[in-house]
Amino acid sequence: MSEARHRYVSSDRRVREDRRFVVGKGKFVADIDLPNTKHIALVTCPHAAARIKSIDKRAALKMPGVHYVVDGRELAEATLPLMTGLDTPNVPRRPLALDIARYSGEWVAAVVADTRAQAEDAAEAIDVSYEPLPFVLDAEQAMAPGAVLVHQAHGSNVLLDKTFVWGDVDQDFKESPHKLSLRVKWARSSTVPIETFGVVTTWDPWREILDVYASIQMPRYADQIGAALKIPSSSVRVHYDVDVGGSYGVKRGIKNTVLAGYLARRLGVPIRLIEDRLENMRGGDAHGPERLFDVDVAFDDNGVVRSMKMCALENLGAYAGRSPFQLGKPIGSIVGPYKIGSVQYRAIAVVTNKTTQDAVRGFGQGPTNLALERVMDEVANVLNLDPLEVRRRNLIRHEEFPYMIPSGTTYDSGDYHTVIDKVLADTNYAELKKERDRLRAGGKLAGIGIAACLEPSGGNATFEALLNPAITTSTFMDSCRIVVDGMGAITATMHTTSSGQGHETLVGTVVGEVLQIDPDTIRVARPDSLNSLPSGTPVGSRMAIMLGGAAFHAAQKLKAKLVAIAAHDLGIPPERAVYKEGSVFDRNAPQNKRTWADLVQIAHRNLHRMPDGFEPGLAVSHIYDVPTGGTLPTPDGRVQMYPCFAFEFHLILLSIDPDLGVPEIVRYRLGHDCGTQINPKIVRGMAMGGIAHGIGAALHEEFAYNDEGQLIAQTFMDYLLPSSHEVPAIDIIDHETPSPHTVLGQKGSGESGYLGAPAAIANAVNDALKPLGVSINTLPLKASKLGDLIAEARAKKGGK
């Protein structure tokens, strides 16, 4: 791709983490085996809402191997509620229910035993007496006057209801000749990693340190543990060298950790809580957004959208941590890749008697992109225009960057029309339409689906202040340290866990690029949290930008130090000293040089040869701020959110068996532009995996509840993850528009594919249904639902 510009960056190199995984030598949390570890199993509430009248532990405590049973009251007396994002003190969130359980599956008590099996046996013997309470499941019903209150003390089920107006929306609506309204629903689904959340923790009362090994992906994990357990965060040692078996945002087991940490301190033994699949699906608080959109747009005769009103109603479930902020992050790209001139956005978050949510890949961007892209297709429908043409007319043009959208964020760069042209050069659009028509002629329903979406990347946290003015967080840093030891070996450090993103490869590649040294010779290590520099962790598609940026600058500092040492030792001015592949030579007399070994010798053992005032050794670090970060929102709610915006264009052909309703993706093309790709294998994998995840969200996955408030998708037999059969062959066409804000022109790619696939699929399904005169805007588009819809439409038409 750009071999000319880079030595190692963008070249087709292996991913260093892979070697340990292919031989089964990843170190996952369940592989942590501390002597004398005791195991937790959980007692969960079987009702959608219930008062806990009594908990009889006696029988359980007599069972073999059982050491302890803790309930919500004991835990609440010893710990503080978990951190929340909004100021909602009357909606406290705790690891175990206190007096009232608010969703089916909520954890009520925990048993500690010698083995997990013994703990499970004993959990069954705990006799909890419940008084079932009225409950509410639907977000609109939860908002209605007189609704059952999930948290009585809060006085309402609404945790957030905030309206932003950017630009003259009313005037733009008045002046536009066309308007349309659309209701779109993103179903409750999540990332559902194959490894559940797990934590192993042990307390050393003499050193006063809580060691934590966890499959975690979360900012401020140690801070939150310390706060809840009422110990200093410097008494919490999180081990970042634990491999995380998939996360995609959701592995935020703070309640699990506080529970296990409390028990480790209370009992003086290592405690292990590895969720089983049922605990994970029902009570792991790892559901994703369930969002209802009402969107109105005003547009002209050419299909150019001038203004939009979007109302997003989020069904949070019973408690809230950071999940309401998933309504805030999309504000930074609220108009997608389009030149919509004014926007009204109302964000509402309500609590209901469902499982609690946490952050899911895209942090609310996927649902927003679905709503935007469905609307663009409907604009085309109303005007009888081609949906691709409507997008072309609305997209921001390459020459218009940097481009500020109404909500105050400036997009860094993009070349959307060229990406689309490249995809169409690969796949002839007219031919694709013919193929669709041939499928239709053959008796299938068939449709073309398009989605043009943005992936905001760089992971700033300014949405927090937008939704909660009490928060003044304006940035979200990351860091890297590089040490060259006395033998000349290089070790770079990163300061968080990873869950498959290849961060060790990222650091090695970037440091190697700057130092012009084979990345495979650079050790990348993960110190624990007590030995780490600050990290905002891998959220918001940020690590290529943020960890890459920190590694780049740290390596630059090291290089500068090497040059200064060499120039001093050579007796030449620094500007005459040239760095090349670890050595430094005199530009005017290249034979005069200092090799890597010479420089290591000087810095470590010949300090008398160092320039005056230089620190001995070769150790540097860099803490990197989010590019364009560091500002708070204006009073009218405008802010620079993320720094970089990657673009993806999905073009698919989908057929539906009209009798069974089964959709099949016949063709899938993705045009992808995430700037400079540091490791193309990793970027491709992210996009492929994101599309597969998006196929799941669009067609198969839903945490469905029945009318009694019971989660009816509790296993992988009812919550359907795409297998290799459900994911078609996908062709990705890359384009590279570098970001001006990042060290190598890179943007994020960790959410790619996922942010557009559901929209493209929903558009294709609706194109397929168009001949029947029906449409569907509620995910997931399950075969059963489509089959019924098609049968009904045919019956109405008086067809077969």
């Binding site: 292996r14 991913v15 983490e17 892979d18 070697r19 340990r20 995984f21 292919v22 031989v23 089964g24 030598k25 990843g26 996952f28 369940a30 592989d31 099996a117 990332t191 559902v192 990693p193 194959i194 490894e195 491999d243 995380v244 078996g245 998939g246 996360s247 995609y248 590895i274 089983d276 699949r277 869950s499 498959g500 993103q501 290849g502 294998k681 990793i682 491709r684 994998g685 992210m686 492929m688 995996g689 994101g690 599309i691 597969a692 995840h693 296993t715 992988f716 037999m717 993850l721 297998s723 290799s724 059969h725 994911v727 062959a729 996908i730 594919g753």
Partner: protein, 178 residues
């Protein structure tokens, strides 16, 4: 690796079994309800097999029983007596070495988080033993019982196709190899 060689009578509620894992024999005292997965991980220290769903859908716990890919979460350890069990540790040639299948997974980056990977590699080993020249469709079918949440499968399919190609090449006289 912890090897248990019990001499006395098994503890209450325990039974004695003999397992053959990666060519080595192990005598173990276990509860009869112990799954093969828990037995391999907790009693033999073979942690390459992973628990994903523990109800037989995701396939992360896959091991080979007499050469056939089996979900070790759905099988009790006592049921595996008299069988030859192969785990990921058993197909790894040696410290620091990779099998052709493992190497191909590295070459195509047929994984991300690595959690489903040992199972995928074992399935590929079993599949390629019987299908040296697989089509894409056959590979897709072969791995369809194993869920990967990270990759979308493309680079896994490519890894298995690459491994097949290389292994076929390895059996040709050197002058005919690519």
């Amino acid at each position: 690796m912890r090897k248990e060689k019990p001499k006395e009578k098994p503890k209450e509620n325990h039974m004695r079994i003999e397992l053959t894992v990666n060519g080595a024999q192990h005598a173990l005292d276990i509860e009869p309800r112990t799954t093969l997965l828990d037995c391999l991980r907790d009693h033999l220290g073979l942690t390459g097999a992973h628990a994903g769903c523990e109800h037989g859908v995701c396939g992360a716990c896959t091991v080979l029983v007499d050469g056939i890919a089996v979900r070790s979460c759905l099988m009790f350890a006592p049921q595996a007596e008299d069988a030859a069990i192969t785990t990921i540790e058993g197909v790894t040639p040696g410290p620091g070495e990779l099998s052709p299948v493992q190497d191909a997974f590295c070459e195509t980056h047929g994984m991300q988080c690595g959690y489903c990977t040992p199972a995928m590699v074992l399935v590929a080993h079993a599949f390629l033993a019987d299908n040296p020249e697989p089509t894409r469709e056959q590979i897709v079918e072969a791995i369809s019982g194993n869920i990967c949440r990270c990759t979308g499968y493309a680079q896994i399919v490519e890894a298995i196709a690459l491994a097949a190609e290389r292994m076929r090449g390895a059996n040709r006289p050197s002058e005919l190899r690519k």
